[in-house]
C-alpha cells in the first residue's frame, strides 16, 4: 500500500495531477448546478411578477 502511494518516487507529481483533475471534475459539477439554480430562481421571480400582473389585470376587468 505504501508502495502504491509512493508511485515509484513520483508521488507528488502523480497525486498532484490526479488531485487537480478531481478538483476540476467536482468544481464543474458544483458550478453547473449553481448556475442552473440561479437561473431557475431568476425565472421563477419573473414568472411570479408576470402572474401577479395578469391576475391584477383580470381582477380589474372583473370589477368594472
Amino acid at each position: 500500500m505504501a508502495e502504491f502511494f509512493a508511485m515509484g518516487g513520483y508521488a507528488q507529481f502523480v497525486w498532484g495531477a490526479f488531485g487537480i483533475w478531481f478538483v476540476c471534475v467536482i468544481f464543474n459539477i458544483v458550478a453547473a448546478r449553481r448556475k442552473f439554480r440561479i437561473s431557475v430562481e431568476r425565472a421563477t421571480m419573473a414568472a411570479a411578477r408576470h402572474h401577479h400582473r395578469t391576475t391584477r389585470k383580470m381582477k380589474q376587468q372583473n370589477d368594472t
Binding site: G9, Y10, V25, N28, I29, R37, T44
Partner: protein
C-alpha cells in the same frame, strides 16, 4: 430529419429532454471515470521508461482532448448560430466555454507536473505548450467579451465571431508537434489499430476519454438549460412551467 432538428432546437422541447437525460449522463460518466481512474492508477503496468510517473497520462490526455474538442464544438455551434440565427446554438457555445476553459487549465497544469520529472522543466516555450496556452486565453477572451454586453443577442454575435475566428488555433495545436521541432512528443493514438501504447495501458485511457466526453455532455445540458431559462424567462412556457410550481426545475 429537418423537422426533427427544428423540434429539438425549440427551447421548451430541448429543456424537457435535457432535463431527462442530464442526470443519467452525469452519474454514468462519474462511474466510468471511477473505473478508468482505478484502471489507470492500479491495473495498468508501469511504463518501461517513465515508471509510475507515466500515469499522469490518464488525466493529462483526457483533459487535453476535452480542451480542443469543446473548442471545436463551440466554434461550430457559434457558426451555426451566426448563419442560421439559432439562439439555442449560441446558448450551447456560451455554456461550453467555462467547461472548456477549466479543462484547458487542467491540461496545462497536469502537463507541467509531468514535464518537471520527465523533461526536466515545468514550462518551456515550446510550440505545443504555447499554442495550448493561447487556447486558454481565447477561452478567457470569449467569456469576458460575452460578459461585457448587456444585451444577449449582441453578446451572441460578438462572442460567436471570436469563437469562429479562434478556430485557426486548433490545427496549430494539433500539428505543432509535427510541423516544428518540439519538446512534446507526437501523438500516441493516431489510429486505433496501431497505437504506440500497449493494450493494458490503452483501455483505461480510452475509457477515461469516453467518460470525460459523457461528463462534458451532462454538464453542457445542465448549463444550456440554465441559459435557456435566462433567455426565455418572459416566454409563456417558462411562466407556465415555473409559475405553477415555484422553485421546481
Amino acid at each position: 430529419m429537418w423537422n426533427w432538428f427544428h423540434k429539438l432546437a425549440s427551447p421548451p422541447h430541448f429543456y424537457r429532454l435535457a432535463g431527462i437525460f442530464s442526470p443519467w449522463m452525469l452519474w454514468s460518466s462519474l462511474i466510468l471515470i471511477a473505473i478508468g481512474t482505478y484502471g489507470g492508477l492500479v491495473l495498468a503496468p508501469a511504463d518501461y521508461q517513465q515508471g509510475e510517473g507515466f500515469r499522469i497520462i490518464y488525466v493529462h490526455v483526457p483533459s487535453s482532448y476535452l480542451s480542443t474538442m469543446i473548442y471545436a464544438l463551440m466554434a461550430v455551434t457559434s457558426g451555426i448560430g451566426l448563419i442560421w440565427r439559432i439562439k439555442l446554438a449560441h446558448a450551447v457555445a456560451a455554456s461550453a466555454a467555462p467547461i472548456g476553459a477549466s479543462f484547458t487549465a487542467v491540461s496545462l497544469l497536469t502537463g507541467m507536473l509531468w514535464g518537471k520529472p520527465m523533461w526536466g522543466t515545468y514550462w518551456e516555450w515550446d510550440p505545443r505548450l504555447t499554442s495550448e496556452l493561447i487556447l486558454l486565453f481565447i477561452y478567457f477572451g470569449y467569456m469576458s467579451l460575452r460578459a461585457s454586453f448587456e444585451d444577449i443577442s449582441k453578446a451572441d454575435r460578438a462572442g460567436g465571431l471570436l469563437a469562429v475566428v479562434g478556430v485557426v488555433n486548433l490545427p496549430i495545436i494539433h500539428y505543432s508537434v509535427i510541423w516544428w521541432s518540439s519538446l512534446h512528443q507526437g501523438p500516441s493514438i493516431k489510429k486505433l489499430d496501431a497505437p504506440s501504447i500497449s493494450g493494458d495501458m490503452l483501455w483505461p485511457l480510452l475509457l477515461l476519454i469516453a467518460a470525460s466526453t459523457l461528463f462534458f455532455g451532462a454538464l453542457l445540458l445542465y448549463r444550456v438549460r440554465a441559459e435557456v431559462l435566462d433567455r426565455e424567462h418572459n416566454s409563456r412556457w417558462v411562466q407556465d412551467l415555473l409559475g405553477e410550481m415555484p422553485g421546481a426545475g
